[in-house]
């Protein structure tokens, strides 16, 4: 790895740094090999694989439904969305043959939106909080964590776990709402909006923070598309693209998702697609998620007695179909907080998947690092990593 990095030492000032795999600002076990000339980085190459857990290979060893808990571990910061992506993909496979078609109950679809958007909020809170922390502001991170705890409480009552939920299942969700959940979620949202305003006062409009992010590592729209950026990182560059709106799955089509894009929010020194835009787009998405949850709560049909009821149930019967799914290959993509989470699933008609392939947002984000980290200051590396919101197991899987 490092031999091709050797550069001639013309100035006698060159320095090679290994940042990571244990480094608080690399959000896990990413390693960057940095060649720097004093404070200026001449090259930085990411080195991954420290958390390769062979999850895709495990997909070939377990049954269809048994793989859902492993999707939690692909992206643990937004495990609900990761569950959802896989389950939507398997449902698409089952629906490719009318004999095994499955219809997810409408109540389950609403619940999926609620938990996915709640998880998006808590994931983006970690993202923006950690970014602020990397830039030296510890307090906003704690405010973010406090709100995340509130979301965790709701999830814990819902499914008994704080982090790896295994809640969304193939054909629905694992449990219906607990008594009083609607009110609790609604009152959380009200409280959250208040807290969110305080969070913005604390850090978003903070002059130091803004100056550190403005104009750093701008990615133009063409570049973003060429490097395959997805999700908030793509939208921050001004590309108006969101799977929830443009290729809707579940009931997202009815909700009318509004998509925020980057506009150079940092003011005079800001450029479209700089670190500050990536940060602000996440905040705007949080606001949108709050609206979507309220909308989904409004659409939630009343609970039926039978779990497989097509309207008010929460789990369609899929046991028989999963023992003998149709052969074939499906590709499905969904919008997770870190961008498109896509699955390619190949089935040979057996009880286990033949191949599970997962494509995630952090993977493409880390690809552009080497391109962006040329001729910047050493301190900006932390800003860039934070602004792309990478989660390492998504890269390595």
């Amino acid at each position: 790895m490092s031999s091709d990095l050797l550069i001639e030492n013309q100035h006698g000032e060159r320095m090679r740094l290994s940042m990571g795999p244990q480094h608080p600002a690399t959000h896990g076990v990413l390693r960057l090999l940095i060649d720097s000339d004093g404070e200026v980085v001449s090259r930085a190459v990411p080195d991954q694989g420290y958390l390769h857990r062979a999850i895709e290979k495990i997909g070939e060893c377990v049954e269809w439904a048994q793989f859902v808990p492993y999707t939690d571990r692909i992206d643990y910061v937004c495990a609900m969305n990761a569950n959802l992506a896989y389950c939507v993909a398997v449902e698409a496979l089952l629906n490719s043959d009318p004999a095994t078609a499955v219809r997810v109950p409408r109540r389950a679809e609403c619940l999926r939106v609620i938990v996915a958007e709640l998880n998006r909020i808590s994931s983006h809170l970690i993202a923006v909080g950690a970014m602020a922390m990397d830039l030296g502001a510890y307090t906003p991170f704690l405010h973010g964590l406090a709100q995340r705890e509130a979301v965790n409480d709701i999830f814990e009552k819902l499914c008994g776990q704080r982090l790896t939920y295994n809640y969304v299942t193939i054909g629905g969700v694992a449990f219906d709402l607990y008594p009083g959940a609607e009110q609790e979620i609604a009152s959380f949202l009200d409280r959250f909006e208040e807290e969110f305003r305080r969070f913005n006062q604390l850090i978003t409009n903070n002059r130091i923070f803004r100056e550190r992010c403005a104009g750093v590592a701008p990615v133009s729209a063409e570049e973003a598309i060429a490097w395959g950026l997805v999700g908030p990182n793509l939208r921050a560059s001004g590309v108006d693209w969101d799977i929830r709106r443009d290729e809707p799955y579940g009931i997202y089509g009815e909700l009318g998702v509004r998509v925020p894009v980057g506009r150079g929010y940092a003011g005079a020194r800001g450029r479209v697609g700089d670190c500050y835009d990536r940060y602000v787009v996440r905040l705007l998405e949080i606001e949108e998620s709050v609206r979507l949850i309220r909308e989904a709560l409004r659409l939630l049909p009343p609970k039926a007695d039978k779990p497989s009821d097509p309207l008010g149930g929460h789990q369609a019967d899929v046991g028989k179909q999963l023992r003998k799914p149709p052969r074939g290959e499906v590709r499905v993509r969904t919008e997770a907080p870190r961008g498109e989470m896509g699955y390619v699933i190949v089935s040979d008609g057996g009880k286990q998947p033949y191949r599970v392939r997962c494509r995630t947002g952090s993977f493409s984000a880390v690809g552009i690092f080497e391109h962006l980290m040329r001729g910047i200051f050493l301190a900006d590396i932390v800003t860039i990593i934070g602004s792309f919101d990478i989660v390492v197991p998504e890269i390595d899987r």
Binding site: P21, Q22, H23, P24, G28, V29, G49, Y50, L51, H52, R53, A54, I55, K57, I58, C61, V62, P69, Y70, D72, R73, Y76, V77, I126, L142, L145, A146, R148, E149, N152, R162, L163, T164, V392, P393
Partner: protein, 183 residues
Amino acid sequence: MKAAEDSIVTTAVDEFLAWGKEHSLFYLLFATACCGIELMQTGGPRYDVDRLGMIPRATPRQSDLMIVAGTITHKMASRVRTLWEQMTEPRWVVSMGSCANSGGPFSKWSYSVLNGVDKYIPVDVYIPGCPPRPEALIDGVMALRERVRRYRTLGIRDRDPYVVAGHEAPFGSHPGKEREATR
């Protein structure tokens, strides 16, 4: 420690050092996977381990305690060993979560996951769970603090010295095996 009149305290040096160590366990900010998020939340506002004198440090040279939070792969294992070697004595290791204990959900099928970090470094306390709740982590830390309290810097140690194997311990060797069974 005995308190005499007028705020005079008599104590043995060893006891005093152990008391100090117990109440200032600085931990290494070292998280590899999902358990790391719970470690972060344990340091967050609700669980607030700062009140136990536990402050995260970014470098191993300033920390007494390594909380191995998350999956350790074969590629990462030698780095973990290096980090552990960089910590100053006496050093303590808490293995947090099933992955660090035994490979957890990946132990059976994965070809790249180390089945238990104790194959590379000696572990003092194991905390089960996937991920363990913050309460469980704090409970594990309390168990560790008891161990730290019994530790004697100058006198006879109540625990075996570390077995220091080669830097790149080959897979399957157990540098930690000769240690006493941990609580």
